[in-house]
Symmetry: C2
Subunit: 387 residues, 2 copies
Amino acid sequence: MTNLPEDPRHALMLLSSIVEPGDAELDDLLGEVGPIEAVRCVWEREVPERLQRITSAAVACTRDPRERCEALVSATAACDSRVLVPGDREWPEQLRDLLLVCDTDEPHMRPPRCLWVRGEGDLGAMCRRSVAIVGARAASDYGRHVADGIAADLAEAGWTVISGGAVGIDRAAHLGSLARGGPTVAVLASGVEQLYPQGNRPMFDLIAQKGLLVSEWPPCSSPMRHRFLTRNRVIAALAAGTVVIEAGVRSGARNTARHAAELDRVLMFTPGPVTSSASIGTHELARGPWEARLVTRAEEVIEDVTGIGGPMAPSPPTQRKAFDRLTEVQARLVEALPRGYVIDEGRLAAAAGVPVVTAAETLDRLRELGWVELLDGRWRLARIETA
Amino acid sequence: MTNLPEDPRHALMLLSSIVEPGDAELDDLLGEVGPIEAVRCVWEREVPERLQRITSAAVACTRDPRERCEALVSATAACDSRVLVPGDREWPEQLRDLLLVCDTDEPHMRPPRCLWVRGEGDLGAMCRRSVAIVGARAASDYGRHVADGIAADLAEAGWTVISGGAVGIDRAAHLGSLARGGPTVAVLASGVEQLYPQGNRPMFDLIAQKGLLVSEWPPCSSPMRHRFLTRNRVIAALAAGTVVIEAGVRSGARNTARHAAELDRVLMFTPGPVTSSASIGTHELARGPWEARLVTRAEEVIEDVTGIGGPMAPSPPTQRKAFDRLTEVQARLVEALPRGYVIDEGRLAAAAGVPVVTAAETLDRLRELGWVELLDGRWRLARIETA
């Protein structure tokens, strides 16, 4: 077997085209031996029987894996997209949190191997302050109105809205953000050129211009039913918090909500009339088993994902005054910290435009002041629980 | 001073007519020396200066306190009402919990000294399984519809609805309960014949026939502004839980909600459209600082106040099966236990129709089985947290 890919990125693209994202067995192998060796193992049948079965057809009809990689590279370029892999500057580090989740209900799904991205923005930067808005396709006028309003106000406040590109709540959220010139990210369950549903095509074109279309699947992948559920974990993991606006009983939004809760992201919902069937799922969410915060407007969403300013934080004015007392470098670092998840020191320094050495010193001082905390070697904003 | 009342009940009525309910100084004195001696202290100016000031006018124009008592007794009878005092069989023991509340925000208000009651039912028995429904006077059609529906279904399920007799949500709750023949209790901020607002007069007449009108103030007392706030603690303390349905910002319902939370009763709210100003107060409640459970229907209210059957209780069917395995006497005691607060063994035995000795033995066994728990010498249903 001579013609194996030599570029790890190509290897990841190749593997993504033959094994569904999240596959624990393949992704654990990738973690152990790296992408190139993993491709060799697959092509030489040195993988567990289950993986052999999954990959056998693709391996049989792909005599030349490197040629297949080149086809994937061409297809990627043909739809104006690019591929991100872990370690890329743009890669959203918070996706790594998917590794930490231990799910007893179903085989646990690993973080994405690579992401196809269509649009000019920097995915990592765009998601640094982001909130996911998800909900029913069969939304009511009320639900769409609320989604549109919250998304618009989030955009106004400089927050990225992440959603799934579906009709109903997703669409209202994307359009609300776009209407205020906000960046919005649609995480798809198909290739970034397989725009589904067709009716949202004009919206997808706008998102590709002003925001980002993102997918774990290579071009030509169709939106299969199970892929929506797989995709939901990425929406939940990218954002600092997820707002559920209208959801049917046992809906896809509930699945995203579960991921958000398990990932220790802030889970929120907007209420509706108890007489509306479109709100049954969100009201169920409020009753457990996860903690879900009721939000009625963007301001409350931001309070909840930043942990500052809400009624749970007794003294927001004190916080704001404390912020005003920070030095410029300190303030830049605090502002550059992503809301709701951790970040490497180097990335944070880059985002804040501060030399790494200065960042290290300043972060230690900010930790003494109670502004930031260190978690497994990465930094995050300390949640302010008391005055 | 010869003509002091000799009947403690009369002494309490007299004191209620000259010092507003909840007065910590007077009520602590009452707790120390009893009602008759307390009247003597007041009339002989042997009380702290503040109490002297409050009572001086009444003392000056009441040369004969015993005569004044007789006038109160006549007025009470004239409006078909009776007076309950602590220790009476009908007295709702749960009001004692008001003693336990430690409030740092304002002078803490003590439990009622006595209650004027109009209607035939037994107040204690009627409140043993009761839920308070409170909310805005300026309620929307939606809010009234929800209050009416939940109250009706609570009545159907054998639960008493307690409210404040106001227009809006209170009225819808009382009428919803009455419509299904349920007992309903209106706790007033004026004498039980001073029916306010006038427009609710036909409803008050119905409540006096089918339920109970209750007040801490003697007949002829008018509904003064501050009395509504004083009254709210009684509504919260009587019921196992309080449901807030529509509330303006900083409303009276919020005050009742605070009492419920501080009294460790279950605080609940029904959501509404985020676009409705009538729901702003309830949605605020959901965001803290107290824990408030979102409820959409009577079934969820009952789940929350009994602690059985909700999503927090993982295995309701197991619970029901366990209940079916109890002996008849065990089952009767468990069923007779009030939901949400504690009860003396003697009263529980009486409510269950079980001899006291049998009750004592059986309760010990039920405690071993995890059904009940002892709290400061009184019994309550154990909350089932795990399967």
